[in-house]
């Protein structure tokens, strides 16, 4: 019963998102055709052509139906800027964003969770204050500024990291998967070349990865800390300690395992929106050729088909991830059903 209601709710949300995406081009002020042609085009023939290309000559409902049926097939029209299918444009840029996003997630788990555990274990001691305060700072960080500061320190002043890009320009790697770390190892070059290219790809990931991971690290540290604190005060931990188990075992195998559920849930709910939100700002700063950068430049260029597609794809992705996380959470924790 509840399940059906829930599903209907999700369906309606999905429909609303499609309407939002579709409505975009009609809500904008100014003439979309002129937006595209600029100071160079005032020729009526050219004008008509672009208008037809955008489907602006049909009725709204017709346009919406058309839009939906095409979108379901993964067909989001053609980019105004490149006159290539939007689908292709997005597919070409996803791997860069996913690679960066996964790297940032990895960093945030590897740093955030241990920091949270340490803070909980050494509660009200220096380590706890350091973690608590730095996670507050990280959580409040304007990452677009943080990225610039890191570039200023590590690239401009210390010359330790590259300024932008995904791979040193001299490595000519054929794209198989679009993931530089994988493609570099798959390339049919000498092993030394492969490893150098791999190192270069990793090197390029470092700064943007740190910037993108800043907020998630803080979030994971905070969640881990509070979730661990709760678990550590439970009876069975006292029992375990009383049994004479080593403190490390108690913390890792008894406490942490039980603290993991909220960490995973919140992490899951957090993932897509952090990756996308982080990607928009991080990629802009580091010239990272991914989706975030593409969204921003599409907004500047008023490439509406691209913006529409991004809203749709990201909206759906968030909904799917949220549903999956919720489902998993209920499986693990039956008490949540109500």
């Amino acid at each position: 019963m509840n399940g059906i209601k829930h599903t209907v709710g999700i369906m309606i949300t999905v429909i609303c998102i499609t309407i939002l995406a579709f409505g975009l081009i009609r809500l904008t002020p100014g003439d979309p055709v002129l937006l595209m042609i600029g100071e160079r085009g005032s020729d009526p023939i050219q004008y008509q052509k672009v208008a037809t290309q955008l489907g602006l000559d049909k009725s709204i409902t017709e346009q919406y139906q058309n839009f939906l049926s095409q979108a379901v097939q993964g067909n989001f029209g053609t980019s105004v800027v490149s006159s290539r299918p939007v689908k292709e444009e997005l597919l070409a840029r996803w791997p860069a964003t996913i690679e960066l996003g996964l790297f940032a997630m990895l960093l945030s788990l590897l740093i955030g969770i241990p920091a949270g555990i340490i803070a909980a274990v050494y509660r009200r001691r220096i380590a706890d204050y350091v973690v608590t305060i730095s996670s507050l700072v990280g959580y409040s960080m304007p990452i677009f500024w943080w990225g610039l500061v890191l570039i200023l320190i590590f690239s401009v002043t210390l010359d330790l990291t590259p300024v932008s890009g995904r791979l040193d320009i001299l490595y000519d790697i054929e794209p198989h998967t679009g993931f530089m770390l994988i493609d570099s190892l798959l390339s049919n070059a000498r092993e030394e070349y492969q490893l150098d290219a791999f190192a270069s790809a990793l090197h390029h990931l470092l700064l943007p990865g740190i910037v993108m991971a800043t907020v998630p690290i803080a979030v994971f540290a905070r969640i881990t800390r509070s979730s661990m604190l709760e678990v550590l005060s439970e009876d069975y931990i006292r029992t375990a300690r009383a049994k004479g188990l080593s403190e490390f075992r108690v913390i890792m195998f008894h406490a942490f395992r039980n603290a993991l559920i909220p960490i995973i849930t919140i992490g899951g709910l957090f993932f897509v929106s952090t990756v996308v939100a982080g990607a928009i700002l991080t990629e802009t700063i580091f010239g990272w050729p991914g989706i975030g950068n593409y969204i921003v430049s599409s907004v500047y260029a008023r490439d509406y088909p691209v913006i529409q597609a991004c809203i749709l794809v990201i909206g759906m992705l968030v909904i799917i991830v949220n549903m999956t996380t919720e489902y998993l959470y209920r499986l693990v924790n039956p008490r949540m059903r109500h």
């Binding site: 002020p29 003439d31 002129l34 444009e89 300024v163």
Partner: protein, 533 residues
Amino acid sequence: MKLSNKFIQIFLAGLLTSPIAYASENIVYCSEGSPESFNPQKILSGTGRNATSLTIYNRLLEFEPGTTNVIPSLATSWDISGDKTEYTFKLRKGVQFHQTAYFKPTREFNADDVIFSINRQLDLKHPYHLVGGGAYQYFQGMGMHNLIESVEKVDNYTVKIKLNKPEAPFISNMAMPFMSILSEEYAAQLANLGRKENIDTLPVGTGPFKYRRYLKDSVIRYNAHASYWQGKTAIDNLIFSITPDASVRYQKLKKGECDIAVYPSPADIASIQKNEKLELRELDGLNIGYLAMNTEKPPFNNLSVRRAIAHALDKQSYINAIYLGKAKPAINPYPSTVWSYHEDIDTYEYNPQKARQLLKEAGFDKGFKTTLWTLPVSRPFNPNGRKMGELMQQDLAKVGIEVELVTYDWGTYLDKVKRGEHDIVQLGWTGDNGDPDNFLYTLFSCDSVDRGSNNSRYCQKSFDSLIKTARSESDRKKREALYQKALQIFSHDVPVIPIAHAKVYRALRNTVSGYIMDPFDVDHFYNLEVINK
């Protein structure tokens, strides 16, 4: 354990050392954006021209690098019929198309390629016309679809183009990027495979470089075309590193991550000049930033008011603050790199007193209120419309003209200007083919009032007939005389106030030689060499 050690080594290697250069002679060019397409027929931007027409393709005629002169390229010579409507081109023999991973040419360049390349854009029923949307904005924007009547093959190495009417700038137009020659054989092969759209993404041309690979928003790779008809280039690989941010391009240049950087930021220019390893090149751009007054509306239909405003503006202060000194004050509507530039005309020096005097004569003792539209986007001819607007506002206030600054987003702005809703508006133009007609006809002819590109909506009969006559005249001397007369009328009437011609810059590492600055603001890669490596 061993594996992790290796990993750490790799990681540290990545951190501490810059990667070893593997290939031999590379030039890395830091460009400011991605090309819209790999077909120059579908390209409007300068970025796109560099990535296609100047690397992969040739045209029948080309602009001599560094000038606006037209020279033979794939055509060796041309004849013009007596009535100036038939152009016969003799084609070059022995020109090879690129051999790439996706295409092996079996024949050399001939008339079929020329006919294919033009007809794709001209003929609405051409099998390739609608491939990729069917919009050929530049071809149509230059009015070629109304001008060319037909393209005929006389023999394998002779092509005849018939025009509907005589038009002198046609020869210059033939050298423009959209007149690049594509391979007809490749097109036929793609049509057989049912992959016509590849013609715009996997390009095949006759130019000095062939396409190798493109990673979106990131890198374009080219290899030298070994059997290029002018001989192979000195470099083996050309790499475009797409870097939209000017300060990042400069940082990369300093670190040696690129050899040539386009459009260095004015802020970095001083430090580039100081750096011994770098070299700064500059040239007057083929552009004009101007302030147009709507001559259809009072009070701007009053000549004295227009002249007063021209005297009220301190151009030099705009050049210092907005272009950071990297521009030349303008008096003509085009820069001195365009032939028929004329200095013997009325000029309007900065003189607020005279301006006030002129306003008094026009009956505006107490000044008036109006709006000034500021450019919402950064353009080569005006990097910061808003800031310039604020300075203009101060200047005009000094002579009693109270100005409200207005702006819209770019599309709305152009739309409203096109419909003539503005009072005073900032706009500009970048030349397409170096012909004065490209400026005067587009921006100031009576025809252009309706087309919307005449922002001052200036339509003066004697001026109009002069530029129209010059348009169909093919003798350059006679045209020059006509344009000089037209410019005198123009400067007398001041429908727009020319502000500045922005300079264009490139920053190079001193290991690069053979770089030629070009007034069209494009880059030539053929003559590049790497020295003292």
